[in-house]
């Protein structure tokens, strides 16, 4: 208002001046001529300073004032003309001045206009700058801020004034500073006019702010430096979305490429951290029979100094509902803590201690079960929005499925590895056989057992084995393998190894069906049962031999009983005479002649009993191997001569002895006493069974390394049905005239034993009525197997 009042006053002043001059001139009657300069002054002042309308107004007023003054004063005529002149002059002067003033004013106005326009552009620019949704600012090529808008200050999280104190490079992150500096340099040197890029700038709290930065060269600043327009857009939201997208992509990539959780965990947790801008990721796995969570994997960037926080966590056990992780486990829903500083989370002190301020945790879920919880911790307080929670929940499900899948696969692999190990290391040979009997695979034990490599096994040994199986199966009424319907019963087959050994194999076939139950392949297990079979065979042999031994024992028992029966019969027969005649003598009343005769009977029978006992003991010793023979060089001819001499002198029977001795007969090896026993026994037999005047011929000769000795008589002979038994015990020829010939019935048995003990043989030839000939051989002494020429001389 004062402005306008002042304007009115200023505009009214010339009019007041004219009125005051007019009034003074009227009152004093001063000539109009005197008043005229004053009027002119007023008009000129208006013409100089005011606008045209006021000039016209003041001009009319001044003209009227001059005219009235001139009329009222001197003669109207002369004064009027002067007045008109004065008015004209006034008018012209006023117009001229006005024109000059107008002109000057016009010139001045356009300059002013320009200035105003400029001012308004500047204003608009400033307003535009302020109103822009992007951060804008002006910098010099050295990066010094000339101007920044609020938005830019807001983006960078600083006040405008504060920002103005800094440079573009100062708010740019260390990582990107070089790039931006380089760009500014090029723009400053006009090498380029525009630069664009996405860089990270730093907030006062050190947080990185991702911005899209565009710098455009403007005109030179007053300082002479080029001026650059800086455009910044906060792209953290986009970056965050990109990060989330990238995180999910990375998670999926890891899941697809990794084989196990342990392999995937570092990359996976690392991806979550790097893409979502967290500093630490921990996977807490359900453990201890689902009673607690234990830290299984974690990730933090090198140099983050989070070891001290993370490592002790490995010993932690989180229970249901305990802390953020425990709550997530309990609820199965992702949750976050935006600022640990304002939260009394159990671990918060430890986390605050290492500078961790925010956390988000999400469940790792598979099949509706929470398998664990992944917690991401960051050094900045932040708000985890729904998008992130959603993303992490999705990731949790995918990770859970992955863990489930890989652990199942791992378990399968273990199981597969177990089976493989069994197959590879089993001592049992295992063959995988196709439905048509072809060998698909043989384990090392099979190949080792049969001493073949797989190729020869497949082409040669297996077909043989297969045929052997089917033959054995046929015998055992088992379905043949070739028919593809084996059961689990075993067959034993004989198989030759590559090394030419023969084995007993126990083959057991099992059919392996495919998913539809159709026979897919067969497993044939081969066990080397050679030892078992051989043991069985030996056992069977031993049983057989035991059985035959039993039979022998039984026979022996029978023989023994028989023997006892015979022996007792022989004894009792002999005792009958001894007892009876001695009873007669004892009872008296017998003639001395009789007594002598009875004494003879008694003596003979007693002697017979004695001989019987001696022979039996001899025979027993020989048969049990307890009789030793004292081997020495024996001249058989000498033995025979000796026997003939004794027999001829002692025998009551009249027989003629003949000797047909080979003078060149070599020495034999034997026991001379036994030789004498044999020859004399045969000679006595010959005498016993010979009639009076019979001839007993003893002959010797060498034959094929043996001395052959024969004792032939011209006696009764042995009936054909008895000749095979003459060497058996108590087999005396009793038929015909032989019946009354005494003997123990053991003589020939003993003779045979002695001959056989010397390594010789004995046999008999006989014809009833013509006599018998007993022959036996004794081996010649080794050095005398050739005829002895000395003997001939």
């Amino acid at each position: 208002m004062p402005f306008r009042t002042r304007g009115l006053v200023r505009r009214a002043t010339p009019f007041a001046g004219i009125a005051a001059v007019f009034a003074v001139a009227i009152a004093t009657g001063a000539p109009a001529l005197l008043a005229f300069p004053l009027f002119l002054l007023a008009v000129l002042s208006v013409a100089l300073f005011d606008n045209s309308a006021q000039l016209i107004g003041i001009g009319i007023v001044a003209a009227l004032a001059i005219l009235i003054l001139s009329i009222t004063q001197l003669g109207p005529t002369s004064n009027l003309a002067t007045a008109v002149f004065e008015v004209a002059v006034l008018g012209i002067v006023a117009a001229a001045v006005h024109e000059v003033v107008e002109h000057a004013r016009l010139a001045e106005g356009s300059a002013e206009q320009k200035a105003i326009e400029l001012e308004s552009i500047d204003e608009r620019l400033r307003m535009t700058l302020e109103a822009a949704m992007i951060g804008l600012g002006l910098v010099t090529a050295s990066g010094r801020w000339v101007q920044v808008n609020e938005k830019l200050a807001a983006i960078l999280g600083r006040g405008r004034e504060e920002l103005m104190q800094m440079g573009l490079l100062e708010v740019t992150s260390d990582a990107d500073r070089g790039v931006v500096e380089d760009a500014l340099g090029k723009l400053g040197r006009r090498e380029i006019v525009r630069w664009e890029g996405e860089v990270a700038e730093t907030a006062p709290d050190g947080r990185w702010i991702p911005v899209a930065l565009a710098v455009v060269a403007l005109g030179d600043h007053v300082s002479g430096e080029p001026l650059l327009l800086v455009q910044e857009t906060d792209i953290s939201a986009r970056k965050r979305l990109d990060g989330m997208r990238d995180a999910l992509v990375a998670v999926r990539h890891v899941i697809v490429t990794a084989n196990s959780w342990e392999q995937a965990a570092p990359a996976l947790l690392g991806s979550l951290c790097s893409h979502l801008d967290w500093d630490l990721a921990q996977y807490w796995s359900v453990a201890d029979e689902r009673h607690a969570l234990r830290l299984r994997n974690s990730w933090f960037s090198d140099g983050s100094n989070l070891e001290d926080f993370n490592d002790p966590a490995r010993n932690l056990s989180i229970e249901v509902g305990g802390g953020l992780v425990g709550r997530v486990w309990q609820s199965g829903v992702a949750a976050s803590l935006d600022d640990l500083a304002t939260n009394d989370y159990e671990q918060a002190s430890a986390e605050r201690h290492v500078g961790l301020r925010s956390a988000v945790a999400f469940p790792v879920v598979s099949g509706g079960t929470t398998m664990g919880v992944i917690e991401l911790l960051g050094r900045h307080a932040r708000h985890s929005d729904d998008d992130l929670v959603m993303l992490l929940s999705t990731a949790g499900v995918e990770i859970g499925q992955f863990i489930q899948r890989t652990e199942t696969a791992e378990a399968l692999r273990h199981s597969e590895a177990d089976h493989r190990a069994i197959y590879e290391r089993s001592p049992i040979g295992i063959a995988r056989v196709s439905a048509d009997g072809e060998l698909l695979e043989g384990n090392p034990a099979l190949l080792h057992m049969l001493e073949h490599d797989l190729d020869t096994m497949r082409s040669q040994a297996w077909p043989d084995l297969l045929r052997a199986y089917d033959q054995a199966a046929g015998r055992a009424r088992i379905a043949p393998l070739l028919a593809g319907i084996p059961d689990q019963r075993s067959v034993h087959v004989r198989a030759a190894t590559g090394g030419g050994r023969w084995l007993w194999l126990q083959l057991t076939a099992t059919s392996i069906p495919d998913a539809s139950g159709q026979l897919e392949h067969l497993l044939v297990m081969a066990e080397d049962v050679t030892t078992v079979r051989e043991t069985q065979d030996r056992l069977a042999e031993a049983l057989d031999s035991q059985r035959s031994a039993n039979a022998t024992l039984e026979k022996l028992d029978r023989t023994k009983t028989e023997f006892l029966s015979i022996v007792s019969h022989e004894f009792r027969t002999a005792l009958t005479g001894i007892q009876g005649f001695s009873e007669l003598i004892r009872d008296g009343g017998i003639e001395p002649e009789e007594i002598r005769a009875y004494g003879g009977y008694i003596f003979n029978d007693a002697d017979r009993v004695n001989r019987l006992i001696g022979d039996m003991l001899d025979l027993d010793r020989m048969e049990s191997g307890r009789m030793s023979i004292r081997l020495a060089d024996v001249d058989i001819n000498d033995v025979v001569t000796d026997v003939i001499t004794r027999a001829a002198s002692g025998s009551a029977v009249i027989v003629e002895f003949k000797a047909d001795l080979d003078p060149r007969l070599p020495i034999v090896t034997g026991d001379r006493d036994r030789m004498v026993q044999v020859v004399s026994n045969l000679a006595n037999n010959a005498v016993k069974y010979s009639p009076d005047g019979g001839i007993v011929t003893l002959s010797t000769r060498a034959e094929g390394g043996f001395a052959l000795i024969s004792v032939a008589d011209t006696g009764l002979g042995i009936p054909p049905d008895e000749i095979g038994h003459v060497f058996e015990r108590f087999r005396r020829v009793r038929s015909g005239a032989a019946q009354s010939i005494p003997g123990t019935g053991l003589g020939l048995t003993i003779v045979k034993q002695i001959v056989e003990m010397h390594g010789g043989k004995i046999w008999v030839e006989s014809a009833v009525g013509h006599g018998s000939a007993f022959h036996f051989t004794i081996p010649l002494a080794a050095e005398h197997t050739a005829p002895n020429p000395l003997r001939h001389a």
Binding site: S565, S568, H569, E570, F571, R572, T573, L575, T576, G577, I578, Q579, G580, F581, E583, L584, D587, Y601, N604, D605, R734, S735, G736, A738, Q739, S740
Partner: protein, 133 residues
Amino acid sequence: MPELMGTDGYGPSMVLVADDNEVAQRLCRRVLEKAGFGVLIASDGLQAVDLALAQNPNVILMDVAMPGMDGLEAMRQIKAARPEMRVVIASAHSMASDRERFLAAGADDVLSKPFRLGDLVAVVQKLTARPSA
């Protein structure tokens, strides 16, 4: 040469001794003759059968183990022909089972060798005792 004595009337009873052992033959003859019996001797089964059928002895003292026909076979043949003829088996086969075996084969009595002389006489006397006497 066997002595031929009447087996009927009041003559001495006749005993046939069948044994392949000479000593046994002599002993039996000596003892039985002393006891008043007539004695016939056979040295084997065949001879025993012949003499038994020919001479009708009252009692036959029969050994078992004899050459040719053994005593049991001889007894069987004699009993077949003369069922009333008494046969005593006098054997050195003296196992417990032997006695049963001989009785089952038809022997009237069994005498084990060696025997007491009194037993021999008693067996023969028992079998020759006539119910009418």
